[in-house]
Every structure is written in C-alpha cells, then in structure tokens.
C-alpha cells in the first residue's frame, strides 16, 4: 500500500518461489559441498589415493562453476525479487537485521575468496594450506547459512521479538536451531547427490569409491531429516501446525500433497542410496543419479513451500501480512480507506469497478490472479454486489491463509463490485432443488459443505420454512457469517435444498 505494485499478471510470490528454490538448492550444495571437498581431499591424502584426488580436483571446478556463479547470483536475485514483490517486508527485514546482513556479507566475501583460491591453487599450494583454505571456505559458507537461517526463521517465528524488538530475540527464535540442523542435513544430502553427479564422469575404478563415499553423505543426511523435521514441527506456532494437522476447516490440499511429496522423495532417495550407492555401487548410473537429483529438489522445494505456506496470512508473523500491509496499520486503513492511505490508488467516484480493480491489485494480487494461479473468477461466479462487499469482512474465516481486508465500507463496496464483475451470473436451476444447490455453491460453499468435512451443514430433516427464517439472522447465529443476500426465491430454494439435500 505504501509502494507501487508490480503487476506481473500472476502473483509475485511465484516469482520469488522460482528463484528461491533454485537458489536454496545450489546454496545448500555450496555449504555441504565445501565440507565434502575438503574431507574428500583429506581422505585422498590419507589413503594415498591419486585417483580420488583427481576426482576431487575435477569436482571442485564443477562446484565453483555452479555455486560461485549461479548460486551466488541467484542469492542476490532473491533479494532483488523480494524487494520488488514485498518491499514493505523487505524494508522491515533490512532494518531489523541490517547488521546481520552485514555480518553475512563478511562471511560471503570470505567464502567466495576461499572458494576461488581453493579451486585455482591446487598446484600452487601445499596440501596443508590448501586443506586449511578448504576449511575456511566451509566455515564461512556454513556461517553464512547460519545467519540467513536466523532471518528466515524469524519471519515464521519471531518469538519474543514481537514484544522486545531486540535483534537477538528475533534472530535466535523458536525455530532457529531445528531449522539450522535441517538445513545442515540437507546440505550434506546435496553434497552427496552432486558428488554422485560428477562421479558419473569418472573412470569406473574411482567411480565406485566416490559413489560409496557420496552415498554415506546422502544416507546420513536423509536419515537425520525425519527426526529433525519433527523437532522443527513442534516449535512451530500452533496456527502453523494446524495447516499440517488438518485442524483448520479448509482442506489445504497443497500442504498435504507437499508433505506426501517430500516424504516420497526422501524415501525414494534413501532406498536408491542404500541400494545403488552403499550396497551395489557398481550399479550406480546416470538415471539413478538423475532421480536422486529430482528427489533432492523435491524435498528441498517442498520444505521451502511448506515453510512459506505455514506462515500465511503473514509474511512476517503477526507483524506484516502476506499482502505487505502492516498489522499495526490495518485499523487506520479500515478507518480512513485505502485511497487516503495509499498514494498509488485513486478513488473513482464514477466507476467503482475501476477503483475496485486497483484495490484488487493492492489487497489480493500478491496471492491471487484473475484467471491464472489461485484464480478469483471461478470463486466469484454468481456473487451479487452486497455479498461481494460483505464477504470481504470474513476473509480469514473463509481461509485461514487470508489476511483480513484492510479498507473502509466504500473500499469493500468497490472491490466487491469488481469481483462481482469478473463472472456475472444469476443463480439458476431447472427446478427448485437445483436452484437451491446453485445458491448454496455461491453463498455458503466458501465455508461450508453438505455431507463433507468442511464445516458441514447438517440440516437434513429441518423444516424448510425454519431454515428460510434462519437465513435472515445469519449474523446473529454466528457473527463470522455474512448476511444472506439472495432473493426470497433463492432463499426458499436454498432452504429446500438444505432441508433435503439428498433427493
């Protein structure tokens, strides 16, 4: 609201997700791969294994090309993207943790310098200083992760920071340690996976040794993910846990799919590792490695998605909503209206839909599009203007992921009118039953089901006239419900449907 909105035609969160998942995949490899390089080098010296040394030299070039270029620049890319998509939250993160970022930059600098020296000076440096520089690289890379981890976990669980506003309270927050351990385990997994990738280019004699060695990294990493994830889960705020446990009324199918997807990917990776890396390393082949890469990407992507999802409706828990509106600012916007708050929208007295379109951009477009991702048109079919306005008062009840609407009655009317204009339709049906079912879909199904799991309405057998009477007092029955805004005929049809939904 404070900033212009970059109108991409799709929610900006998708852009963040695309760049972020690519970055975290490579950057965790950059951390685990650092330890892998230096321990493999040490192992080669200890066993006097020149082939293994040849492998690790080759691997280090691949490592640098991937992490120093794509890993580092996509990291800057996330920063660019969040500034474009959530400037208010980015500004807040920068102000809260400027010295955290600055310290992270010091480690980043050392990390890059050490990586370049390590990779370019195999022939120049003696073994010992080369190993030391490898360790310096790993320590700096891990420290960089440890700092960013503090900032990322703060967004989900700011903990005592909300009361004290103190740097360390936000940094060492309730999910800091479990998250750091999970990320470290993931870094070990990715070190193993990418170790297998480059092993495929090696002659078979050394390949087998590298495959087994990488397999241990992968196996130990995956095996530790399950207990660490449980530890992490228990430190989540209760509302975040509810997304996973199904305690919320809405079926968050994407969460279930992501959880199952992550579990399947981890299980597949573990089985493939045990069979093809540890038991039968000779049988390891590029197809299995490709499956492991995809599985690793699946685990990483699902984990990041779930972390982001469980933060809804906030981008910084209890501080800034997902649509970049500050929690503390909301009441003022409700009192004064968006047009008086944001310099980027202007109220159009003649055409509320034009104003409503601007409000959609400001309030909704960070998560919704009109026709594409999380499309609104399919939800608003058949709404009337009053319902469109009233329903905006109940967004967090409809879905727990949604921030409350920040605006006055005029704003609600304008946005409601715009939403209604997306898919104008009159409830219809060949008979009263069908009409009733249609009215139910429009007016009730955002929150209720009949015979389903979601806030089931079990009014079967109740007299239709009594139900019709209740429709006039919905807000009295439950203040979370918007009033029924359909016509009398639609109300009668709805009552008839609810009274006898089966026939």
């Amino acid at each position: 609201m404070n900033y212009p909105i970059w109108q991409l035609g799709f929610p900006g969160g998708l852009l963040i997700a695309a760049i972020a998942v690519l970055h975290v995949f490579i950057s965790h490899f950059a951390v685990g791969g650092g330890a892998y390089l230096v321990l493999t080098e040490r192992r080669a010296y200890a066993h006097n294994d020149s082939e293994l040394l040849g492998y690790v030299r080759h691997h280090s070039k691949f490592f640098a090309l991937l992490t120093v270029v794509l890993g580092a620049v996509t990291g800057v890319g996330i920063w660019f993207t969040i500034g474009l998509v959530s400037p208010e939250a980015t500004s807040s993160l920068i102000h809260t943790f400027v010295w955290g970022w600055a310290i992270e930059w010091v480690f980043f600098f050392v990390e890059i310098a050490a990586a370049l020296i390590y990779v370019y000076h195999w022939d120049t440096l003696d073994r010992q200083p080369h190993l030391i520089i490898g360790w310096i690289y790993f320590i700096a890379a891990w420290a960089s992760l440890a700092i960013i981890n503090g900032i990322i976990t703060y967004m989900l669980t700011p903990g005592r920071w909300l009361e004290t506003g103190k740097f360390w309270d936000g940094f060492f927050n309730p999910t800091y340690w479990p998250s750091l351990c999970i990320r470290t385990a993931m870094a070990a997994c990715l070190a193993g996976i990418f170790g297998l990738v480059t092993a495929m280019w090696q002659p078979s004699a050394v390949r087998e040794r590298v495959v087994r060695w990488s397999g241990w990294w992968l196996a130990l990493g995956i095996a530790s993910l399950l207990p660490l994830s449980r530890w992490y889960f228990h430190n989540l705020p209760s509302y975040s846990r509810a997304y996973f446990s199904g305690a919320f009324s809405a079926p968050y199918i994407a969460v279930r799919h992501s959880l199952r997807g992550a579990a399947v990917c981890a299980a597949v990776a573990l089985i493939l590792t045990l069979v093809f890396a540890l038991l039968r390393p000779k049988m390891m082949n590029p197809v299995v490695v490709a499956v492991l890469l995809i599985a690793g990407f699946g685990v990483m992507g699902s984990g990041e998605y779930l972390r982001e999802f469980s933060r809804y409706p906030y981008v910084i828990n209890s501080y800034i909503y997902a649509n970049d509106v500050r929690v503390g600012q909301k009441e003022g916007i409700v009192a004064n209206g968006v047009a008086k708050t944001s310099p980027w929208v202007h109220a159009s007295a003649n055409n509320p839909q034009v104003y409503g379109r601007q409000l959609f951009v400001v309030e909704c477009s960070s998560c919704h599009s009109v026709d594409g991702y999380r499309a609104m048109r399919r939800f608003t079919r058949g709404w009337d203007a009053k319902f469109g306005s009233e329903v905006l008062l109940h967004l967090p009840v409809i879905r727990e992921t949604m921030p409350p609407f920040a605006g006055d009655a005029n704003d609600r009317a304008a946005l409601g009118s715009y939403l209604v204009s997306l898919a104008p339709a009159t409830p219809s049906g060949e008979n009263e039953k069908e009409l009733g079912q249609h009215v139910f879909t429009i007016h009730c199904a955002l929150c209720h089901s009949v015979g389903g799991e979601r806030r089931p309405l079990d009014l079967k057998g109740t007299d239709a006239d009594s139900i019709a009477g209740m429709l006039g007092t919905l807000s009295d029955i439950n203040s979370d419900m918007p009033p029924f805004t359909g016509t009398d005929a639609e109300g009668r049809a709805l009552a008839a449907f609810l009274s006898n939904p089966g026939k």
Binding site: P4, G77, L84, I103, P343
Partner: protein, 370 residues
Amino acid sequence: MNLPIPYADPMPLPAPIWLLRTLLLLTFFLHVIFMNCLFGGITIALVCALRRKGSSFSARLAGDLGRLLPSIFAFTITLGVAPLLFLQVMYGQFLYASSILIGVPWLAIIGIVILAYYGVYFFSMKGEHGMAPVVLALVLLLLASVAFIYSNNFTLMLSPERWLDLYHNGANGWNLNWSEPSLLPRYLHFVLGALGISGLGLAVLGLRQKEDGYRGWLIEQGTFLFTGATLVNFAAGFWFLAKLEGPARLAFVGGNGLGTALLGIGLLLPLAAVAHLVMAKSSKSPNRQLVIGVSCGLLTVAVMVAMRDLLRNFALAPYFSPNQLPVVPQWKIIVLFLVLFGAGLATLYYMLRKVALATMIQAAAAQKLQ
C-alpha cells in the same frame, strides 16, 4: 503536488548516519574499482582476442585476463552487495519504488549477470577458441546493458515526480527512465570512467611483471587507455553537469562549498594522474611516477563516489534526508560486525599471503631448474 513517496520504514536506523554513509561509500568505492576493471578488462580482452595472432603481447594479456576476470567478476558482485544493503537502509523507500517501476529490466539484471559471468568463464577456459571474441563482445554488451539499467534506476529513484505517470502507463514494470535529461551523459560518464580505470589496472598489472618488454607494453597501453578515456570523459562530465536539474547543478558550481570543492578536485586529480603516468616514461623514477599516477586515478574515483552521493542528497533534498530518521544504534552488534569484518580481512590476508608465498617458491624453483 502530492508525490507518491512511500513513508520511511517505521523502525529506527540501527546505526548513526555517518557510519552507514561511510560504509556505503567505502564499499561502493571498492565495488566501482572492481566493476571498472571488469568492464574495461573485458573490453581489453576483446581487443586482445582479436589481435591475438598479430601481437604476442596481446595474446599474453588475453591469457592473463582470462585468469583474472572470473575473480574480478566475483568480487564485483560481492562488493556490490554491501553498498546495496546500506543504500536500502538509508534510502530504501526511494529505491524500492523506482525498482518496482522498472521491475522487468531491474530483475533482468540477475539473468544478464549470470549469462555474462558464464561468458567470462568460457573465455577463461577456452580463450583461444574461435568464438572467444564473439562471446566477449556479447558479455560486453550484456554488462553495458546492466550498467544502463543501473543508471536508469539510480536516476529514477531521485525523481518521484515521474513515478505516478510511469506507474499508470506501465505498472507491469516495462519502464525505463528515458525522460531523465542526465541519463545518457551520466551513463556515458560512468562507462568512460570504467574504461579509464581499467587502464590503471593494466598499468598496475604491468608494474607487477618482471619481464621488461611485456611490462613496458602493459604500462604504455594502460597509460594510453586511461589518458584517452579520461580526456574524452571530461566532455562527458561537463555534458552530465549541464544536464543536471538546476539546483543540483548549481550546488556543484558555487552553490554548495563541498560540492564545488569536490568538483574542482575531481577535475584536477585526473589531470594529475595523466601527467604522472605520461611523465613516468621519461622519469628517472618511473615506478614512483606510476604509483602516484595510479593513486591520483583512484582518488579521482573516491571523489566521484562522494560527488555521486552528494548529487543524490541534493536531488532528494526537497523531499527527504536520512538525517530526519530516528536512530537507535545497535552498538553491540555493530562492534561484532566490525570485529568479524576485521577477522574477515585477516583471513583474506592469510589466504592471499599463503598463495603469494607458494607462488614465489614455485617461481624460484622454476628459475633454479632453468
């Protein structure tokens, strides 16, 4: 007129302005040095790659640049992160707004930089490949476009009066700041500056060589590049000055003591640098002349960085100054940062020292064998 300037972040600044500005300017200065060496270095590498067959020195320099450029690229990026951080702390509300308005080209920088970076690695690993000059030309084009996008954003963030029009005409982020009169001269001034400073880089590379022929050639080429680019840049600089908005321009020509002094010093220093570099050839102590010349060139960059900061403050003066913001310094964490920064520098020194020692020992061993 009500301008759509976002309110500053409600959180107080976690450090005094002087500290933030010092870190902003210091890290930006270092970034500019590396960025200039990168941009100019790629230009030189392109010329050398084209002249490789006719000139053994060109071929040798192409090889040297192939080894140096990936690291220079890495440090250009790394050193660019810090000033962007401190800039966001002090001027975030201006930078975020203008970045969103040019969102597409602004974010494209990331993709462009990745492509250019891999192009540089291609040259580094396959410098003699027939496609190397083509790749270098593309890299140069990519980096020139990055510089142009930066010039657009850093001028647009100073012009909130243009924001609403741009937003209403193109909220999808497909904008550039074409209506800024100083855009092209500013861009030209910075690009020519980069070429000039990379000339100093060549001279420094020459100073580190042992073989007289190659050393002399590098210093000569570096001097030529610095002198030529700097003299042309005087014209670009005056054009830039002429195209600045009235109050900002006036501040540099008498309206503001510091601005005027910096402009004067900024005019004299590069002339001093040229004089010392040119004199070095006939001097009894050429190395000393060269070092003074290079130092004057680097000081010119420092002065230009300070002037650029002043220009930003002059342009924003009607709307905002970071001095208005509340400050609650987080001293303990600042100290921790400074300690770690020192430790980081010490670690860097340790690593470079190890490499330097090992290189010296290897060189001595190779000489012994001969």
